[in-house]
Structure formats: structure tokens, C-alpha cells
């Protein structure tokens, strides 16, 4: 997905907050955003996927993005949301819930304006990050590479 032709025109992204930082992922894979629902813990599950939720009668794994980014887990707040995305894992269409501390908005970003990730000076593992953009104002916005994240989630 992170290919050459994507760069030429603006893409829709969903911006979200994780532990106070602003991140973004492609809006195309998002199917809905839910308020926090009861989570069933899966004993002995990996840290990045601690539980299961019920999304319209389907059993969906809940993935905690903060684990991939090496961030501490916060307690759930009134702003906590679940971003439901559809992807393909190992050839199987899969629905996944992503835990977010906050969801801001769906906006457009010019992929050209995304700077490649600097190798040094980054707090987050670069393999999960596609680049760094700017929010309308000027805050940094870290664009996540969801393909890389899901690939390592299996």
C-alpha cells in the first residue's frame, strides 16, 4: 500500500490519540468506531492482543497499538474508543478492533507532505511507522504502517 502512486494524491486518514501522542492510519480500512465494550481477557495471550470483543455478533480480537509502539498502557477513560478495521491476515479476511485513547477525526493528508522517518531521534520502532506528517495546525502526526503492525501481530 505504501507505494509510489499513493503519493501523488491526498489520502483520507483517521487521526487518533495514544498516550497523548497523535497518530494516523488510513481511513480506508476502518469500518466503524465503537465506544468501549466489555472485553474478555484471553489467558496467556500475547500482550498486544489481550482480549476479545463482540462486534455485531462476531468475535473480534482487540489489539493494543501501544504495545507495538513501546508505550505504557493507560487506564480506560470516557474517551477510549475501539476502531474496527478490516484486513487480510494470512489470506483470511479478518476483523480487528484497535484500542485508542481518543479518536479525533477523519481528514485528508497529502502523502507527499509526509517525511520519511528519521532513523535517529525516534521514540517509536521505525518498522511500524510509515512517516511523519503535520496536522492542520502544525502538530506532528505519526502515520502508522498498519500492514507491518498486523504482520507482526500474528
Amino acid at each position: 500500500m505504501g507505494s509510489v502512486h499513493a503519493i501523488s494524491r491526498p489520502v483520507e486518514i483517521l487521526t487518533l490519540g495514544l498516550s497523548g501522542e497523535a497518530f494516523a492510519l488510513e481511513a480506508g480500512i476502518v469500518s466503524e468506531i465503537l465506544d468501549l465494550v466489555p472485553v474478555t481477557a484471553v489467558p496467556n495471550a500475547p500482550d498486544h492482543a489481550p482480549g476479545l470483543i463482540n462486534v455485531r455478533g462476531k468475535v473480534v480480537p482487540l489489539v493494543d497499538l501501544r504495545v507495538f509502539l513501546g508505550m505504557a498502557r493507560n487506564d480506560d477513560t470516557i474517551d477510549t474508543r475501539i476502531i474496527v478495521v478490516e484486513t487480510v491476515l494470512d489470506g483470511e479476511p479478518t476483523i480487528i478492533g484497535l484500542l485508542a485513547d481518543k479518536v479525533y477525526e477523519v481528514t485528508e493528508i497529502d502523502m507527499q507532505a509526509i517525511e520519511t522517518t528519521p532513523k535517529v531521534g525516534m521514540t517509536w520502532p521505525t518498522e511500524f511507522i510509515r512517516g511523519i506528517g503535520h496536522r492542520n495546525g502544525g502538530d506532528f502526526l505519526i502515520v502508522l504502517d498498519m500492514d507491518a503492525i498486523f504482520a507482526s501481530a500474528q
Binding site: V37, P38, T40, A41, V42, P43, N44, A45, P46, A49, L52, I53, N54, G57, K58, V59, V60, P61, V63, L89, D90, E92, T94, I95, I96, A153, Q154
Partner: protein
Amino acid sequence: MAISNDPVETFRIEARELFEQLETTLLDIEADPANKDLIDTAFRALHTIKGSGAMFGFDAASAFTHHVENAFDLVRKGQLPVTKELVEVALLAKDHMRILIDDPEAAPPGRSEAILSQLAAVTGVGPVAVVRSGGGERPEPPSSRSTYRIHFRLVRNALSMGANPLLLLKEMREMGDFTVVTITDALPHLEEMDPCGCYLAWDCVLSTDHPRSAIDEVFMFVIDDMELTIEEIQPDPKLLGEILVEHHAIGPDKVEQAVDRQPRLGALLVEEGLVSHDKVVAALAEQKHLKGEAEKSKKSETADIRVQAERLDDLMDQVGELVIAQARLRQLANAGNDTHLKSLVEEIERLSSELRDTTMGIRMVPIGSLFSRFRRLVRDLSKELGKDVQLTTSGEETELDKTVIERLHDPLVHLIRNSLDHGVGSPAEREGSGKPRQGTVHLSATHSGAQVLIRIKDDGRGIDPVKVRAKAEETGLIQPGADLTATEIFQLILQPGFSTAAKVTSVSGRGVGMDVVKRSIDALRGTIDINSVLGEGSEITLRLPLTLAIIDGLLVRVGEGRYVIPLSAVEECVELTPEDDLRATGRDFLNIRDEVVPFLRLKSLFHLTTPPEPYQKVVIVAAGDMRVGLVVDQIIGDYQTVIKSLSKIHSAVQTFSGATILGDGTVALILDIPRLIDLSHASDSQKKAS
């Protein structure tokens, strides 16, 4: 009925069934060469494959099949005896036809010619070119001239399925004097009409020297679902009324009534001039109506309908959702005091459980279709191995979920191969040990509660527990001198990398196989029992659930989490006495009626930190002959539940076979009993060894 929009794909599916039927028939012929019905069945299957193959553009397959069909025509006429060689080459030919139709590109070049020359050697007739094609070609003794009345109507989608009514009419026209009337009564209004649909029917009268069977053959390729009547009539001139009566268009009394009304009709005729024609058309329409009614009642006895498997899966999913919603409804109703609501909920509960049973019933298929596929396997394999083995089967009518049956094929192939390769000895060896030269592999299926037992039993050498133990010690699967029962030793052959075959054959003995079998059976939530008496034979029993989609479960609570234990695995529930609880430090064993049963504390297995509760329970579960107790905090009750598989993200978590949604909408995990038992025994033997 069409199940796919692609007629070629539909044809392939039908051809596959024909091939299966053909193979079974050929194997039957081998066993019973004098049976003329079987030969006719084989011939008809070949004829249909040839004809419909050509219709859908599989010319190579059609031309090839033609030669095999010719050979069976000779057999049919008694000009060629049935020999083992003929059946052999016919089976090869059948395999080749299947390739030609499934994937013509994949057919090895020269294979057709090779098989045909083999066939020619058997029949003594050189390969002859395809001279004629289509039906009505077989020379039969000329019969005297007779007249037939033929009425036919193709199915609505016949044209898109590749049928051409003009060709059918042309074929009949070539057979003699032919009169045809097109019936257009079923033509809908233009706006309702499907331009590709076939709305026409034809009434024909044919006077011919050909026998009746020649007319049947014209319709051979389109006969499914079509309306077709062929009857011989006396070629006497008849009154219109008589013909209409014979057409069953109108009862004699109706004709009389019409005759009674004739003055009025005559008046109309005078007025309009065209009424008589319409009247005939209407009479024909009435005929069809009456006939349709009669046929409907006739068909309802044996009507089958072909449904796409995905539709059944969808239906099952929806029923599953319904069961979940109904459980929620029950919970809501029980929380209040509304008796009307409660009685309604009970009614819905009854309906949904009936609906569930019916839906599962639709998915049930007799296992015989699977068993029959192994006859060929055993036949070919025993030949290859120089052994004489017969396959006997029983319980073919036992029904199992279609998905389970499909996924049983590969494991059963492995098990049967093993029996033939390792189990049954060569005829000489068998004679030496006082057994009949011919070995027997018996495949059976029986119901046992909510499970189906499938047994593969042979009268071969049996499994040598000493050899198995030696091998397991050598490969480090067990500690030398470990204390194991015979059953536990036999279970070792299911471990990855285990194979006792001294030499690697093409059939088995690569050390892959039994562990693959175990994994496939695990995936079906089944278990494998192995029994064997050295020198007398072995018996492998597969225990499988009836269906994959819904289970009856026991809902339990551990800490704050709720879990489902498949009820079929539950043997009993006992209380964990404080003495047992305290005593069991390091050695977690219970004494159940003088039997020692190990138990697992789910709380510590799940790394839960909640403090132990005062009245813990132990649920004793079994898989095969192994039993283990699971310590839980509370037993909530039985619970019918729909299984949802876990995603790849949780594939590393091994203690759960799936999840389900509870009445309150939360998710509960389903415990994987065979895995838990393996786990407990693994930690067990570790403890023993240390």
C-alpha cells in the same frame, strides 16, 4: 437445478458426480462381472459424459470417452467379456477423463493414446474414429413403424445451460415424419420476460421406424428437470375433442359440456371467427395445468434440490445468531416477572431449537459417499504393494456434518494406507501365521450420543508396543523406562516425527502422517483411540462431534472469566474438598472411585491473580481414554452455544478451541479439552521423570 451461473462449472460438478458413480460401478462390475444392470449403468454414465462433454466444449474428453463407451457397448451386447484388464483400463480411462474435464491443460500428452491402445488390446478392436455424435446413434434392430406423441418443455434456463431445442427438433425430424406445434402459453409479458429464458414448449407427433429408445436418447442430455412425455399412439384420424381428451387437456365430461354449450360457442365463433383456435390453446394450457398438478404430487415424493454449500453455511450462521439472540432474550425475560413474556420466550426457544436441528439436518450427509471413495484406494494400493486386501464397510448410512465429512477424507486416507502398508502382511506372510491369504480392512461408522465413531480395523500384524517404546526412547519422545500403559504407548505414534517403518515406502513411513492425522482430527474437535493386539490386528477409533457449528457446553466461571467446556467431554463434576486442595501441592491428583485422576488448576494455568474461592469444583473431562479434572470456581450451567473460531492473532494461544457469545453479549472462550489433557500429561511425565 443450476447451482452456479457458469454452465461449464455446473457441468464439471455434475461430471464429478458421474465419475464417482462410474468408479463405484466399475468396482462393482469387477466384483460381479455378470451383472447386466451395472454394465448398463456404466454405459449410461459414459454416454452422458461424452454427450454433455461435447455440449460444453470438452471435445478431447468427449472423443476419448467415445472409445470407452464403445467398449462398454460391446460388453452390453455380449460381444466382449468383462475381464479384470477391461476394468483396469476403464478405471485408468475414468481418471484420465476427469483430468480432461477438470483441467485439460494438465493432461499429460500422449496419455489418451496410451490408454486407448491399452483399451484396444483388451477389446481387440482398433481405435475407431468418432463418426457420429449426439444421441440416437446406436444401431438397433429395425422395428416396425409406429407413431409417438411427444410433449416437451425445457427448463427456463435451458438455453444458458447450453441446450438447443432446435437441434432436438431437428434430430427428431430426421427420424421420420414429424409434425410439431409450438406452445407459447407460458410467454410472459414483455416487461417480465427474461430474454435468455426458454418459455416455449413443443407438442410433436413423430411417425418413425426407430424404436422408442431412440427418442429417449434425443433427450438424454437435457432430461434433468425438463417436462417430457412420450407415448405411443394409434395413427387413426381423431376428432379434436378426442385428441384433447387424450392430451388430458380436458375430461370427457368437459368435452360433453362444451358440446352442450356449442350453440353459444357457435354464436361466438360467428362473432369473432378466431375463437376456436384460442379454445384449443386454452385447452392445451388447461392440460398442462392438470398435468402440472398431477406431477407436483408425484414429484413431492422424491424431489431433491441442489443447494450451494455457502447458502447452507449462511443459514447455519444465521441460526447461530438466532440461538445467541434467543439466549439473551431468555436472560432478559428471566430477570423480570412478566409471565406472558416468559411463555413467549419458551415458545421461541422451542422453535429456535427445532430450527437449529432442521438446519443441522440439512447439512448432514451419509458417510457412505466417503467410504465408497476408499474402495479404489484399497484396490490400487494392495496391487501396488503386492498384497491381497479387501475393504469392507458398515454404517454407511451414519450421518455427519458435510464439512466434517470433507475434512475426514485425508486423515482416513492416511489411516487406510497405514493399515495396508504396515498392518496387513503379504499373502505368503499371512499364510505363514495361519491367517487367510486375503487381509481385511473394515471401515465402520456408528453413532454414540452426540458423537460419531469411525473405526478402521485390520486383521494384520498389529502394533508392537515394545518397538514403539524403543523408537520413542530413541527419538527422545519419552524418558527411558517411563511408566506407560499400552494405550499411552500407542498414543505415541501420533507424535510428530514418529515412524516405526524401517524403510521409507512411497505409501507411508515418512514420519509424517499420524501427527498430521492427529492435527486434522483435533481441528474437528475429535479424538483418536488406538487399540492393537500384536499378531491379531489393530483398531483405530476416531470420535467426532456431529457438527462443527454448534455445541452443547457447560458454562463455568474461573476468577472473573466465564468459559465453556464442551458437554460431550464432561464426565462428571465433583467438589474439590479442602483436604484434596491442600494435599495437592506439587502432585495434583484426585481419587475418583479408586481411580487416580490428575487435575489442572485453571486459575494458575490462566495466570489469574484472584484469590482461591472456598467451594471450588472439579469438572472431570475425558478425551479418548484419558481423563483429567479441571478446577473451576463455579459451575454456572449447561449452555447451547455457537462456535466462532479465533483469529490468526490468537493462534498461538493453545488452550482454547474457539469462542462464543453469551446471552449478555460478552465473549466467552471455549476450552480445548484434548489440548488441556495433553498439557496435563506432558507436565505429568515431566514430573515422573524428574
